[in-house]
């Protein structure tokens, strides 16, 4: 086993960790432009994280070790997920360790830990947020799995790098099934990352908040890790979307080197920039749903993904 592929893998993961807050900053920037506001600096997420790390952590009296431990687990899961997702290269050594189903499982692990930590102190908002998060999760998770299944039927593999590779290297073809699943995927992405219309990332203290409600008791480094993990999650979802629907431009050669990785960095940056504009656009033109309507929103995603599966099996395309 040579060192170079693992080094490349480590570089990819580090790049993901580093870029994720910038992606969040970029979306905020785009949204401000679209809404005729003056935007905060694009580097603000970094400064916020840095500031939080410096602060002294304040824990609730009743907080158990689970509460302190959860941010590390969540952050670790998201970093591990970033290693599985082929954001810059598809033939990296860790890709053989877990396929897309394991990736969904990993994201579920992170979600369960966030929810358990939210219930730990026993506040009204925390438990409410945990319940809502799990409600969103149990509908979004199978929808995401269905999206991945459709892609795996086309490429006959559930390994995300293989799917991405197969879709990128074969002659260009339009898959009607992928069109359905792409819509489903965008809905899942919005719901899972606490974006409008399911949740609102821009406000604190709304009665209908989900993600923020779970983090209310966190402070300092724990909060920083949770926020960073959330940014990484958004980055991961975007990269899953790129791997499935716009797989071109990712380094696919057998021998992966840091150089090949850097070559694919500008393309990734361009995709992320476009995705950021798209997300900001969706958030600008849509309004937040009532919490009770969220299941319908996600059921739509689930049904669209199932429809995609059916279309794929009917047309074999």
């Amino acid at each position: 086993m040579s060192v170079i592929p693992w080094l490349t893998q480590a570089l990819e993961v580090l790049a993901a960790i580093a870029v994720a807050p910038l992606f969040v900053g970029w979306i905020v920037q785009c949204r401000a432009w679209l809404q005729n506001k003056s935007a905060p600096s694009i580097w603000l997420p970094y400064r916020a994280i840095h500031k939080l790390f410096h602060k002294e952590a304040v824990l609730a009296e009743r907080a158990s070790p689970l509460f302190r431990f959860a941010p590390y687990v969540v952050f670790g899961s998201m970093v591990c997920a970033a290693a599985i997702i082929p954001s810059m290269g598809t033939r990296l050594p860790f890709s053989g360790a877990a396929d897309a189903i394991a990736l969904v499982g990993l994201l579920a692990t992170a979600r369960v830990f966030v929810s358990l930590a939210a219930m730990d102190v026993g506040t009204a908002f925390g438990t409410l947020g945990a319940r809502r998060e799990m409600m969103v999760g149990f509908l979004a998770e199978p929808a995401l799995l269905m999206v991945i299944f459709v892609a795996s039927l086309i490429s006959s593999s559930t390994a995300l790098p293989e799917i991405s590779d197969a879709l990128a290297t074969q002659p260009f073809a339009l898959y009607p099934s992928l069109a359905f699943t792409a819509v489903a995927f965008v809905l899942v992405l919005l719901a899972e990352n606490a974006r409008i219309p399911v949740d609102n990332p821009a406000t604190h203290l709304e009665l209908t908040m989900i993600h923020e409600a779970m983090l209310l008791e966190y402070s300092a480094r724990h909060l920083a890790l949770m926020e960073w993990a959330a940014a990484l999650k958004l980055f991961n979802y975007a990269c899953i979307g790129f791997a499935l629907f716009v797989p071109w431009g990712v380094a696919t050669e057998q021998a992966q080197t840091p150089a090949a990785l850097f070559a694919s960095l500008p393309i990734l940056a361009a995709k992320l920039a476009a995705a950021g504009v798209g997300l900001a656009l969706i958030e600008t033109v849509s309004a937040k749903l009532r919490v009770f309507r969220a299941p319908e929103f996600l059921a739509t995603a689930f049904l669209l993904a199932v429809l995609g599966l059916l279309v794929n099996l009917l047309l074999r395309a």
Binding site: L59, A60, E61, R62, A97, V121, G122, L153, E217
Partner: protein, 664 residues
């Protein structure tokens, strides 16, 4: 090398002996708890080891000159029975050692008698797995049902527990009739009731289908397949926790064993469309079970419904294996079968762990109602942390064991589009959608289960005095939790054992699931692979590095203070979300499943009361009308009983005449 069957039989005999030894000093908690139950646990470990060794050996038969004259008992140990004997031994070892610390005097049945019932239950389950003729099978099957009935009714002074026990016994017997009839069809006119004769019997396709459907009905009733599941949510809360653990973790699997034995061994070549029946019922049970689990407020009822979900997943897998086997896709049939067996063993560990965990909670708090628990992670850290492993495992989260089997099943489902039958190839992959939904809902259920019991603030003042489990109970919990972790991290070794079963059934000639000690490759490397050890290593490494970097670059100072809760100062335990609240979105989304009765307070109530009772529609729509029908028929037939001897003599006379008429 000792004889495989005989060595298993000896260990089962040891269990029976331990049971009878309990009668020597029936009132002594010390003898039963400190000597006999730990001995029983050791026998369980030995049985698991013996089964592991035996599995690699060829099938071995043994004839015991017992039972009726000219009808000796036939026993046989082969790969299938060894897998389930391993499950029985390994899971019961943890439960027994837990039970050693759990059972106390003054809880209904005397400890010694309980010890007898418990170990006879274990021994009869083992004999069910070894039986090689229908007589012995039914005999031990009934012993198992009866001994577990007495265990369920340990607290026989409470009328609702007697009711639950009766319901259990009733459905167990309705199921047993199905199994008996199935064996009757399987002998195929030879009137030989050994399994060898049944293997040799040539059945017409129609009769083979009848035998399969009868077996599915009978074993489905024992396993708790919807709609025959109604006894499960009643019996599990009624039984003492170690007994619930055994019933849910192990006994339900004997029904799975029976179905596999009849379908793949005795019937030989299953027909593809048979598989659709368990597949459909299994998928429905999986969703039904988990939806109801999410709405429960009693922790043991919640787990009982979760068992229904898992039984549904198991039967779905069996159905998938039959479909694959029937259309000649033997490698995939083997994959589905391995997934089923893996999930059976996983469920034995994780469900037993959760049930004994609730047992500790019950002992410490005397409370089964989720609405009166909370915050126990502070008072019962051992139970809380070990139960967390079980909860995460059953939610199907990597790198624990529940994920492995669900992953294998999904891989099998994903290849189902190749089934060369019109529409079937298209509809089967949709089953994967339902399995994924059930797995995601299981996560919801487990967050509710764990969060409400162990996290948050205690909902009752008395919970502050709750004590942690004793050391014997901790060993039991630890054993089962270790099983969940090991089965999750090193699946490849265990799959080697499980693949002997499809090889025994002739589905495959050589092992097809690839990989090495740290990695599993179900079909091809290009298609999918999963390496749980690497997975855990990377996550662990990232966590360690994060802790290191944070502590080096910044600091790890922390201070305790009152919870913030958006600046609200008078936070109390009643402001937390409740178990009912957690069930609310599920009740809302899956409304058609439930029959609900709600009492809502008006704004002017002096003492506002909110009550919601959740019922199953199946009671009002199927079971109660059926019971009514039975009673009405019984009343009609009762007219025959006039109570006068002359009438009865007339009946005998008429019967004789009719018989004579038939014979002549």
């Amino acid at each position: 090398m000792p004889d495989p069957t005989l060595s298993c039989l000896t260990l089962l005999g040891a269990w029976a002996l331990i049971g009878f030894a309990g009668l020597v000093r029936p009132g002594s908690v010390f003898v039963v708890g400190r000597v006999l139950f730990p001995l029983g646990a050791l026998v369980g470990v030995a049985l698991a080891l013996v089964a592991l060794v035996n599995a690699a050996q060829p099938a071995d038969q043994l004839v015991l000159p017992l039972g009726l004259p000219d009808l000796p008992f036939h026993l046989r140990s082969d790969a299938l029975s060894d897998v389930f004997l391993f499950l029985l031994g390994a899971a019961s070892a943890g439960v027994s050692i837990f039970g050693a610390g759990y059972f106390r005097s003054g809880e209904g049945t005397a400890p010694g008698l309980l010890c007898l019932q418990y170990h006879l239950f274990l021994a009869s389950m083992g004999l069910v797995l070894l039986a090689d003729d229908a007589y012995l099978f039914m005999l031990t099957w009934e012993t198992m049902a009866l001994s577990s009935y007495f265990l369920v009714t340990t607290q026989h002074r409470l009328p609702e527990i007697r009711r639950a026990g009766f319901l259990y016994l009733l459905i167990a017997h309705v199921g047993a009739i199905g199994i008996l009839l199935s064996f009757g069809v399987l002998q195929g006119g030879s009137w030989q009731f050994t399994f060898d004769a049944m293997r040799a019997a040539q059945l017409s396709p129609a009769w083979a289908a009848v035998a399969f459907l009868l077996a599915l009905f009978g074993f489905g009733a024992k396993a708790g397949l919807v709609p025959l599941h109604v006894w499960l949510p009643e019996a599990h809360p009624a039984a003492p926790s170690p007994v619930s653990a055994l019933m849910s973790g192990v006994m339900l699997k004997t029904a799975l064993y029976g179905l596999l034995r009849v379908t793949f061994d005795l019937l030989g070549e299953p027909v593809w469309w048979w598989g659709l029946v368990p597949l459909a019922f299994g998928l429905f049970s999986a969703i039904y079970g988990v939806v109801f689990a999410a709405a429960q407020t009693d922790m043991k009822r919640l787990l009982a419904f979760s068992s229904i979900e898992n039984i549904g997943i198991l039967f779905t897998g069996v159905g998938l294996a039959i479909v694959f086997g029937g259309v000649g896709m033997r490698t995939l049939a083997s994959l589905a079968l391995v997934a089923v067996l893996y999930h059976a063993v996983n469920h034995a560990f994780m469900k037993s762990l959760l049930f004994v965990g609730t047992g500790s909670v019950l002992h410490a708090t005397r409370e089964r109602n989720l609405g009166r628990l909370g915050g126990l992670i502070h008072r019962m850290p051992w139970v809380a942390w070990l139960t967390l492993i079980g909860a995460l495992a059953i939610a199907g989260l990597p790198p624990l064991n529940g994920f492995v089997s669900e992953w294998l099943l999904l891989q099998a489902f994903l290849s189902a589009y190749q089934v060369p039958k019109p529409f079937l190839g298209m509809l089967l992959p949709l089953g994967a959608a339902l399995i994924a939904l059930a797995a995601a809902l299981a996560g919801y259920v487990m967050v509710k289960f764990y969060g409400v019991i162990f996290l948050g603030q205690p909902r009752e003042a008395s919970l502050e005095r709750a004590h942690d489990a004793g050391w014997l109970e901790r060993i039991g919990l630890g054993w089962l939790a270790a099983g969940c972790v090991v089965l999750g991290l090193f699946p490849r070794h265990f799959i080697d054992l499980l693949e002997l079963v499809p090889m025994q059934f002739g589905l495959i000639q050589a092992r097809t699931i690839g990989g090495n000690w740290w990695r599993v490759i179900p079909v091809m490397e290009r298609q999918a692979a999963y390496a749980p050890v690497l997975f855990l290593l990377v996550v662990g490494l990232v966590i360690a590095l994060t802790v290191f970097v944070v502590s080096r670059l910044y600091h790890v100072r922390a201070r305790r203070s009152a919870p913030w809760d958006c600046g609200f100062a008078r936070l109390d335990a009643r402001m937390q979300d409740t178990a009912e609240g957690f069930g609310q979105p599920i009740r809302h989304i899956f409304q058609p499943f439930f029959s609900m009765q709600r009492e809502l307070p008006t704004p002017f109530d002096r003492a506002p009361h909110y009550r919601v009772t959740i019922g199953e529609r199946i009671w009002t729509h199927a079971y109660l009308p059926l019971a009514e029908l039975v009673q009405r028929t019984a009343r009609a037939v009762a007219w025959l009983q006039q109570g006068r001897i002359a009438t009865y003599l007339l009946y005998s006379f008429v019967t004789l005449l009719v018989m004579l008429g038939l014979v002549l």
